[in-house]
Amino acid sequence: MTATAAPPTGRAASTPSVIRRRQLREQAIEIGITTVALTGIAAVVLIFVFVGREALPLFTSPEIAKETDLGRMFLAQVWREGRPASYVWQPVSGVPKYSMIPLFVGTLKVTLVAMAVAVPLGIAAAVFTSEFAPRRLKEVVKPVIELLAGIPSVVLGFFALMVLATWLQTAFGFTSRLNAVTAGLALALTIIPVIFTVSEDALTAVPRSYREASLALGATRWETAFRVVLPAAAPGVLAAVVLGFGRAIGETMIVLMASGNAAQTTWSFGDSIRTLPATIAAEMGEVVFGGAHYTVLFFIGIELFLFTFILNSMASVIVARLVRRMSGSAG
């Protein structure tokens, strides 16, 4: 009814009531989107609060303090008469022992192996598909690598346990079949697609003009790819590496199956290891609800949470710095 009264130039419905209606609608949409975004944050906060609440008795309950405390969890203890102090994870025992150090060392070792394999492979594959591969090949390589992300980790773990472990033992002569290298390699298979996909997107997003300028200045395709495009995509590539690291540190099933789960503090990569997430998965089933062991397992959850949080914050600082430096030199 107002539309008929509108002047011919106001075709785009600019009468006050229509504008108000549109504003209202947009406000509603805005509120909706904000709520959705906040729900995500709320979920993270609530999970953190819940896990923290279950871990809290570690610091407040005198009963649990008799069994363990921070000092005993992080410092070497003398457990057997006449033996040097050591880090021992033996939660089911006459005297339960909850040292975190063997679990830290194990997690670190397997993550290092996985990253050492997956980062160069993932980034190199991304550079190849975005810079060198002919389009036909690219259309095959990309989905196939991404398919790797779709393999359930339990299947990869089983493969590592039955096949990979035997190969590696015959090839390198490891004392134990299941060790940091076996689990790390299987783990690398799950994080290669993460690193590949994200860095490939970052590389593709580098403006064409960069490449054209570089080639016009007489640089070869290799020089263009590695000296111009890759540095320009560095923030995205770094984000990919951090995502992969987060995935590696939290991955449970593969390490549970292929690492041997021996909680020992050694630096040899051929030794069996026990990681933080695998410990939670293996032991949560039978712990006494609310007991020291239960609390310590939740504390491990908090530690994992903190690790990824610190890592992500560090990465975002570095990314911000990289972006600033690059836009600075460009301007």
Partner: protein
């Protein structure tokens, strides 16, 4: 027409929980899963209409489920602890009832290529606590000993820790695997391995003789376990909340019958009767 559909729906709603309740649930010891499943299969074949659901997870998991009321029967390869008994009493006002249904020898597995064929309990203790680390020290070849153990939710783990380690801790280098089958598989593939688990699983590995109280080595065979000459044997239990009754009792009676005990031998354990 609509009325009939509504009636059918109402009937389904009322009957569904009743039907679901008709299944007797059995949960617990991984060592007993094969045995329990075989019993359940045979029993259900003999008594159509009866339903027995068997799941594993470990003795502790089974007893925890008994305490929480999520299973009717709990399989356990260790005796129920006093605090677990108290929990059942607190929640359900009855004490858990214990039925020994079979006997199991905890066997020691080594690779078939291993030259060692007999060990004493003291030697086993030294090996599993990490004091002896080379097969040479117990009469074998010069090679490192690779130890396989079980997750600490396993009844076999607790039994071995009490009977062999006398409460001591496993060596840090002991790898923990999620089931007896995994230990057997590892020992069959790893030439320097030693592991432990139920005797029923020993396929493709060598079982060690264990020196008993009489100073002689014994294999975990039926006679040796029954006669008590093999030192590492244990009863396998089924626990229920209070005296077993109804369908669960019928099933347990079957397990203890001559036919049920024949299944025990078939699966590789030792009859209790």
């Amino acid at each position: 027409m609509m009325k009939r559909i509504a009636l059918a729906l109402a009937a389904a709603v009322i009957l569904a929980p009743a039907l679901a309740q008709a299944a007797v649930t059995v949960k617990g010891s991984d060592t007993m899963v094969i045995l329990s499943q075989r019993w359940a299969e045979n029993y259900m074949k003999k008594n159509p209409g009866q339903k027995i659901q068997v799941t594993g997870g470990g003795s502790g998991t089974g007893i925890a489920a008994l305490v929480n009321g999520t299973t009717d029967l709990a399989n356990s390869s260790r005796k129920i602890k006093d605090d677990e008994k108290a929990k059942v009493r607190d929640r359900f006002n009855v004490l858990p009832a214990e039925t020994a249904v079979a006997k199991d020898g905890v066997a020691l597995y080594v690779n078939e290529a291993n030259g060692v064929s007999q060990l004493t309990i003291a030697q086993l203790r030294d090996i599993f606590m990490g004091d002896v680390t080379n097969w040479k020290q117990v009469g074998g070849a010069d090679a490192p000993i690779v130890i396989y153990s079980r997750e600490n939710s396993s009844g076999t783990y607790v039994f071995f820790k009490e009977e062999v380690l006398k409460g001591g801790d496993f060596a840090a280098s002991a790898q923990t695997l999620p089931g007896t089958a995994a230990v057997v598989n590892a020992a069959s593939k790893e030439k320097n391995a030693i592991g432990y688990g139920g005797a029923a699983y020993a396929k493709g590995v060598k079982e060690l003789k264990v020196v008993g109280a009489d100073g002689q080595g014994w294999l975990p065979t039926a006679e040796n376990v029954k006669s008590g000459k093999y030192p590492l044997s244990r009863p396998l239990f089924v626990y229920s909340r209070g005296a077993v009754a109804g369908d669960a009792k019928a099933f347990l009676d079957y397990c203890l019958s001559a036919e049920g005990q024949a299944v025990v031998t078939e699966v590789g354990y030792f009859p209790i009767k």
